[in-house]
């Protein structure tokens, strides 16, 4: 049985935010001997880091606009490849000049890359078309750069594991709801367990906010003004990789001009729209249209390709004009804010802006400042040491990895739970054992369950069944496995009511298993449907009907709690029969 973890009253550093940046800071500080705790209001990696485009930048995208950021990217690109090879697919990147891209930008591009230290080689378009036959044939020139594709959840997980090996902890579903100050000093921080509603108060020596787009809110809790300008970016997930190389337009960065192959899919992005609240945004029709229209300049056949879903992330953009004295300007890409110098709060630092590519550098610079303030001399070792779980061969991930592993252990479809992404029964069992209690959406982030073309149509009932079975056999304690991500709470006040209880019931009562499984199923389906909605046409719409037929037609999900509506408008709960029911006698 999984023990309830109670928060330690005392830690050296409390890190708010379990995205790549927070995870990197937890790792960096714990390696310097500090005892740290990281909390995130959702599952780890559910903020922007889990909703980004997936590109390990070479920096070439920024050579014209922001050469400093470009330089940081290429340095960190090399570091990440070295310390986290299993999270990187070495796709390489292309910058291609379509007829829509101005000549002068293209002409200056290689020199600008050279100036930023980015290897950039012009390649013949004939070669490019041979390798990437789906590309627009009127592309005139092409340059190869060391872009790559980077898996965020594994990267975060590896950073956390490294820290946990050094006695630091990271806890999901714990939200910072109150920060108490004693003059210039943060004396305590209240952390709510969003699943049970219980609140713990801890007294860290130091607080680091790595809350990304939410950093303004954390600062506000501490009584500090920090203006963020969250920028929403929308992306489209294509069912298949029409390219195995990251493809960028060679022009001043704009909307819909990058295609990134990520695992089995290819992701087209992004848009950029400023949003007032990082928790509340919709994907709009015109964004989807604009993305496809722009994307077709790279891949003309795009509108005939199947889009699985659309999703959006929120950029943690920092809007204040940084000046030399308050706020330490490192580059325009990210800023470490020393709230002592800036606002007179002695034990508080925020890190804002940046990119996932430079997460480690951001973490190092933040940790350097923290250590300097706490009086720790140990240097950062995160660039030199390989992360845990990178395999003995330190090989890059490649697309065929999962299938070849499955084939190596016998293959076949008998043990497949998620057929689209080749998630096997042992993989699911392992994840549940290590992460219970968790929602099926957590399972998805950990295993890619439900992320393929059927978007959960065929794996949801299987996974839910396995969870129910495990509870019935008591190999897992009965617990709420529904969609536990809380609705966006107002901050403050703290949540008074449990936001969807995790009930650590030791003795499962009869029916618990089935009921929990049903709830998990409905919750997961709704979440999957949500992302499909903006792109529900053609094949994907047909697939939705297949799923609707399975769950609302055959399995009668409308009778389950919360199941009357599939969020899609394709489910019809118990239609009224006109003309009298044909009652069976």
């Amino acid at each position: 049985m999984i023990a309830e973890y109670s928060l330690p009253a005392q830690v050296d550093v409390l890190i708010v935010g379990g995205g790549a940046t927070g995870a990197g800071i937890l790792r960096d500080l714990s390696r310097r001997g500090l005892h740290c705790l990281l909390v995130d209001k959702g599952d780890l990696g559910t903020g922007t880091s889990g909703r980004y485009h997936g590109l390990l930048h070479s920096g070439a995208r920024y050579v014209a606009k922001d050469p400093l950021a470009a330089r940081e990217c290429i340095v960190e690109n090399r570091v990440v490849r070295r310390i986290a090879p299993a999270c990187v697919e070495d796709t390489g990147g292309l910058f291609v000049a379509t007829p829509d891209d101005p000549d002068d930008y293209v002409t200056e591009f290689p020199d600008r890359c050279a100036a930023a230290g980015i290897p950039c080689e012009e390649v013949s378009v004939a070669d490019v078309f041979r390798r990437e036959p789906a590309l627009n044939r009127s592309i005139r020139r092409a340059f190869r750069v060391p872009d790559a594709s980077l898996e965020p959840w594994q990267l975060i997980e590896a950073n956390l594991r490294d820290a946990e090996n050094r006695d630091s902890r990271a806890l999901p579903y714990r939200q910072v709801v109150e920060i108490e100050r004693n003059g210039a000093f943060i004396s305590s921080v209240s952390v709510a367990d969003v699943r049970s509603g219980t609140i713990d108060r801890i007294a860290p020596r130091f607080v680091v906010s790595a809350a990304g787009a939410w950093a303004g809110r954390i600062a506000a809790l501490a009584g500090v003004r920090l203006d963020m300008a969250p920028g929403k970016g929308t992306m489209l997930v294509y069912n298949q990789r029409m390219t195995d190389t990251v493809v960028n337009r060679c022009h001043v960065p704009g909307d819909g001009d990058i295609m990134v192959p990520v695992h089995t899919v290819a992701i087209l992005g992004t848009t950029e729209i400023s949003v007032p609240d990082p928790d509340i945004y919709d994907i709009e029709r015109h964004e989807v249209a604009q993305l496809v229209a722009e994307g077709e300049k790279l891949f003309p056949d795009l509108r005939n390709l199947r889009i699985l879903r659309a999703y959006a992330g929120v950029r943690p953009l920092y809007s204040e004009e940084p000046s030399g004295s308050d706020g330490r300007e490192i580059s325009r890409a990210h800023v470490v804010l020393d709230h002592e110098r800036r606002d007179g709060v002695t034990n508080f630092v925020s890190i804002v802006g940046g990119k996932l590519t430079t997460y480690r550098l951001m973490a190092q610079q933040t940790s350097d400042l923290v250590c300097q303030k706490i009086g720790v001399d140990a240097p950062s070792t995160t660039a030199a040491e390989v992360l845990p779980g990178q395999g003995s061969e330190r090989a890059y991930y490649w697309l065929g990895d999962r299938l070849s592993q499955h084939e190596a252990t016998g293959g076949g479809d008998a043990a497949l739970i998620c057929e689209c992404e080749f998630v096997t029964r042992p993989a699911l069992d392992r994840f549940l054992a290590e992460n219970w209690p968790c929602s099926l959406d957590d399972v998805r982030r950990g295993t890619r369950l439900g992320m393929g073309p059927c978007q959960g149509a065929f794996c949801t009932f299987r996974a839910a069944g396995i969870v129910a079975e495990a509870i019935a056999r008591r190999s897992l304690p009965a617990a709420e496995v529904g969609f536990v991500e809380p609705p966006p709470p107002a901050e403050p006040p703290p949540p008074a009511e449990p936001l969807g209880a995790i009930v650590g019931r030791d003795e499962p009562t009869r029916g618990d298993d089935a009921e929990l499984a049903e709830r998990a199923m409905v919750a997961f389906l709704r979440e999957r449907y949500k992302g499909t909605r903006p792109v529900a046409w053609g094949r994907q719409l047909q697939e939705l009907w297949v799923a609707t037929g399975i769950y609302w037609g055959t399995l009668g999900v409308d009778a389950f709690e919360g199941g009357a509506d599939n969020g899609q408008g394709t489910a019809e709960a118990s239609p009224r029969r006109v003309g009298g029911a044909r009652a069976a006698r």
Binding site: T264, R303, E407, G411, G412, D413, C420, W537, R539
Partner: protein, 455 residues
Amino acid sequence: MTIAEVVGAASAEAIGLSADACLKCNVCNTVCPVARVTDLFPGPKYVGPQAQRFRLGALLSPGTGEDSVVESPDKTVDYCSGCGVCSTACPAGVKIAEMNNRARGANRSGHVPRLRDWLLGQTDLTGWAGVLTAPIANWSLHNRLFRWLIDRFIGIDRRAPLPAFKAPPFRWRLGKRHRSAQLAGAPPPERAVVYFHGCAANYYEPHVAAAALEVLERNGYEVIVPPQVCCGLPLISNGLYGAARGRARRNLEVLARYARAGYRIVGTSTSCTHTLKSEYREMLDLDDADARAVADATWDICEFLLDLHDGDNLDTAFGTVAATLPYHAPCQLRSHGIGLPALDLFALVPGLEAIDTDHDCCGIAGTYGLKKEKYDIAMAVGEPLFRKIRSMGATEAACDSETCRWQIAAATGARLRHPVEILADAYRAADVAGPKSPARTEPAARSSPTAPAGG
């Protein structure tokens, strides 16, 4: 740009991208003859649209570039026989069999081909070697030691049906027929057709070619037999795309000349005609004007004869062939999407009762069933068909595809014939019975080679 303008519901043309259309309905898995009999093969859905998403360079045509990056991690796709049943059954139009074929090719590209796969691909070479040394070659094929050796060292199952060479090859028996690569001197297209005989009719079954000539000429067509090489299908199914492309180009160069001039190209091998119709374009990416002209001009012989009949141009003065004849429609024929024209033609022959065996695949699928590791699978796939034919007590059966004929013959002991041979018999039966009232005349027993004793 509005959403309405960018919503595309069509699926992409490319074989690889057709995986987009898969809705996971499982229909393909329920029809696959191989998955039905072995757990070594996880089924079309798994190796097709599912595995496709895990293939690097999925869009590339294997073997097109020296630095081909195509890589497919699943080895089980090798157990797909390529019968094509799944592609015809898929309600969403996923090109599953084609995808599998490419994945198999990808697994082999960049590697030195296995001697066996290379050998099985070289039907021209083995054909010539065989007919030139026919007595020795044929003796070896039935020699237990020789078969044991090739089983052991090459990997062709010692029990597999290997046909006997017939010397001289069909092309040497052409007489005065036009056989130039040039149009000059050829009879006009209204009165003539081009015949593509393929390897089987040339080296192993010249009687099938002879029957085709007889039937076509009976219907007033002069038959042109221009120079040709193997269509390349054995190379394609053994993953040797480069060599296949070479064969295809040589054939296209000659055939396109005729196709453009309005000639129809008729073949007796369903697999050859299917290759000309679609594989050159789909599998080998030779989608140019020549390939399209040839594809449009190509007809399977039964399809062609039935078309004549539809236009009232078929000589239907068939004599009686009193027989009950099991007929197996090969999977290759189903891929043509032309129905089962042989059965329609058989219905025109008095006395002939053709029975559709209604089984999807005999198992051989070209060269698949010859391979040592697949022989048992192939036999299991065809078993219900063999049982049906055996239980009918038939001594003769008909099938359009040569390799299927050899497989069924070996498994059942029946004599296997091409439908056009049966039609030739029927015409001959009419001749013997006299020109008066051909349809009603009872033939003399010996006039019909197909008539079983007492028939």
